[in-house]
Symmetry: C2
Subunit: 417 residues, 2 copies
């Protein structure tokens, strides 16, 4: 019965997670190394399945950008395998004692890191997420149910199959890594409400996907990765630095969530700064949506910015620009449009830097540096399962530790209250 598949997967993943709770680091690492080996050894078969997905995507008229995300190559498979080997090198977060104490009555309390249990990943069509997420969940002793985009279904099936075969070779329950292959909306919504089997849901993808999960899920959700990130250039900014940061934040990799989408410029330096910024952007044909003052300064090629542009995460060579009266107006603008990801001020004013970092409500707030640094690798987490833009549990890049919870272990010799 196809419509019960997700509960069947949930049950199997839950049982597998119970077995994982008592597996040591060495065995998990062995499984990860076997996954990396299988990936490389069976790359031909993976590429053949991937080609089916790419063909189907082309036939369905899916955009070239999407097809590029979907397509694997020998080199990309090697990169994915290397990323798995890198997870082997990361410290196992399970069993770490966060804190502990002995109470006056002799009770010993330990607060110890333990796995979440079963993680549900809902994502789009990047096949590398399938392997990355599975590897991070395995290293943190969580079972995972993967629900990737239907465009990548053939690729995901073979990737999960080879990972499961590696698990079995390492003496682990293959159900530690499960793939939902029935991709109807109905089945996915059931997954989001499957509180008895799932401990956390992590959606990864565009704003639409994230909102669908937030609106429908009863399982606790960690929102990730929608980034309408601002760079505010203050009156006292070093303008060369401001151009460098704005350009890097906007154009170094526009498709990622930590890229700048909106530029706010203090009115006193707008006439000096904006032409320089526009010149840098022109090298990448960046489309500019500006307020009236911006258009006065930059002239005809700037499109008119409406609230829709200020609210938009372009993920493209496009940027919205607004000239503001002062820091206060910049902070208000950000409060209205922020997705609480990464926000930056370029300034030479100590007071404005303090005020901006204290008042702007985001996972990461920058002074005089590019928003592009909000990343698990850059922050020293080693690898990331996503970037949390909510406040519960984890905020900003989430690594292995964020895939664990705690358990209090209290040992005594007959204490009663």
């Amino acid at each position: 019965m196809a419509s019960e598949l997700i509960y069947e997967l949930g049950h199997r993943a839950k049982c597998a997670s119970a077995s994982l709770a008592v597996v040591g680091t060495a065995q998990k690492n062995r499984a990860l190394l076997l996954i990396a080996e299988e990936l490389e050894a069976r790359s031909g078969a993976v590429l053949a399945e991937n080609e089916k997905d790419v063909q189907a995507a082309a036939e369905h008229g899916i955009s070239q950008v999407m097809i590029d995300r979907l397509r694997l190559s020998e080199a990309r498979i090697r990169d994915i395998a290397q990323a798995v080997r890198h997870v082997v090198d990361l410290e196992d977060p399970v069993g770490v004692v966060d804190h502990g104490r002995t109470l006056p009555n002799g009770l010993n309390i330990l607060c110890k890191r333990v796995p979440m249990g079963v993680v549900g990943m809902i994502y789009e069509s990047r096949p590398n997420v399938t392997v990355d997420a599975a590897a991070l969940c395995l290293k943190s002793s969580n079972a995972v149910i993967l629900r990737g985009g239907k465009e990548a279904i053939h690729t995901n099936i073979i990737l999960v199959e080879l990972m499961r075969s590696a698990l079995a070779k390492a003496g682990l329950d293959p159900d530690c890594i499960c793939l939902l292959t029935e991709l109807s909306r109905e089945e996915t919504v059931k997954m989001m409400k499957m509180n008895e089997y799932l401990d956390v849901l992590i959606p990864r993808g565009g704003a639409g996907l994230i909102q669908t999960v937030v609106q429908n899920a009863t399982v606790p959700v960690i929102e990730t990765g929608v980034g309408n990130c601002h760079v505010y250039v203050d009156a006292s900014a070093d303008l060369e630095m401001a151009v460098r940061i704005a350009d890097n934040a906007k154009t170094s990799r526009p498709s990622v969530c930590n890229a700048c989408e909106s530029l706010l410029v203090h009115k006193d330096i707008a006439a000096a700064f904006l032409p320089k910024a526009a010149a840098a952007f022109a090298a990448h044909d960046v489309v500019i949506y500006g307020c009236d003052r911006t258009r006065e300064i930059l002239g005809g090629k700037v499109l008119k910015a409406t609230p829709a542009e200020y609210a938009k995460e372009f993920l493209d060579y496009k940027v919205s620009v607004r000239v503001v009266d002062d820091l206060e107006q910049a902070i208000e603008h950000i409060a209205q449009y922020t997705t609480h990801h990464s926000e930056c001020i370029v300034t030479n004013s100590y007071q404005n830097a303090q005020e901006f970092t204290a008042r702007v409500d985001a996972a990461a707030v920058y002074v005089n540096a590019s928003t592009r640094y909000t990343d698990g690798g850059e922050f020293g987490l080693g690898a990331e399962i996503g970037i949390s833009t909510q406040k519960l549990h984890a905020r900003g890049p989430m690594g292995l530790r964020e895939l664990t919870t705690v358990k209090y272990i209290v040992t005594g010799n007959g204490q009663i209250r």
Copy 2:
């Protein structure tokens, strides 16, 4: 328009929370002390309003237990005021640096504790929760929207009014503490979906209330406090200790979430242990629901336990009992019925203690001590806003720190990627 009240409150609380983000500890403590003073100074007026609630409850035929929870007295008001003064003494969690580093490229990363923003509390008819929750939210620089039970509405209105007046006297925005007075289900469900204004929802109360919030909320929820807690008496247990722990866990305060609801007994010691336990329970007229083997040992007065009794959080002088074959069956039983709150093994076997603590999935797992210790005060948190039984964000007793999130503050001098 009554039906828009909650959005109005949400907006005001959000604005107030922005102002709180930059208020120092001294000013918050001044406000807390003023709240305690106002409570004592206006106790007569509070008692008069409380009497209205008690009268109405009596007229509506509400149970004596519920009325006792609702009723205030001079002494209880003094206790509530003292609890507020105690919050003054607790360390301010805001601004604490969790960790930080300087990257090789010179970027400085600080991970700093910041308030959540706006906390939504949904709870039942204990008026002390109104003041406790407001005080803890204030100390952690969060605005709060309180939605208490309608039985306590007159009491809650005057309590919130006097707290708001104390806030104003301390120079703080009174909207830091808001009360929802329109108590329809419709309005409450709107509150649960008010993601633009609320950062977290904390339901406190019975299983029904918690489930309603989990099922309806789109705002992130921290589940609290449903405790179907087990005490498992292993074959090697010191039987006197086991009786002492079982009796304390069951009868010292049956109405709280860390009380024992279910007793599991290894078959080898059941005949020796159960009569002793039953004798201790008899002093409190505890009603016993037992499996067949329990009834064979204890005889006629034991009622038959069905899955309904094993699943039930009695919060009363009632207990379910099951004789199990071994540790494995005890762990399986707990896995089936646990609410992931507090679970206990009484044993003298090192191996069984290890296995129980590793495999039982709960916020707190005990060896040879009463489950009644799962409590913010006992665990050294000073005060608690609730006991989390979920895995995201916080697990077990939640104190001031758990009412905060983090913000990464990244400072540089022009770094780009």
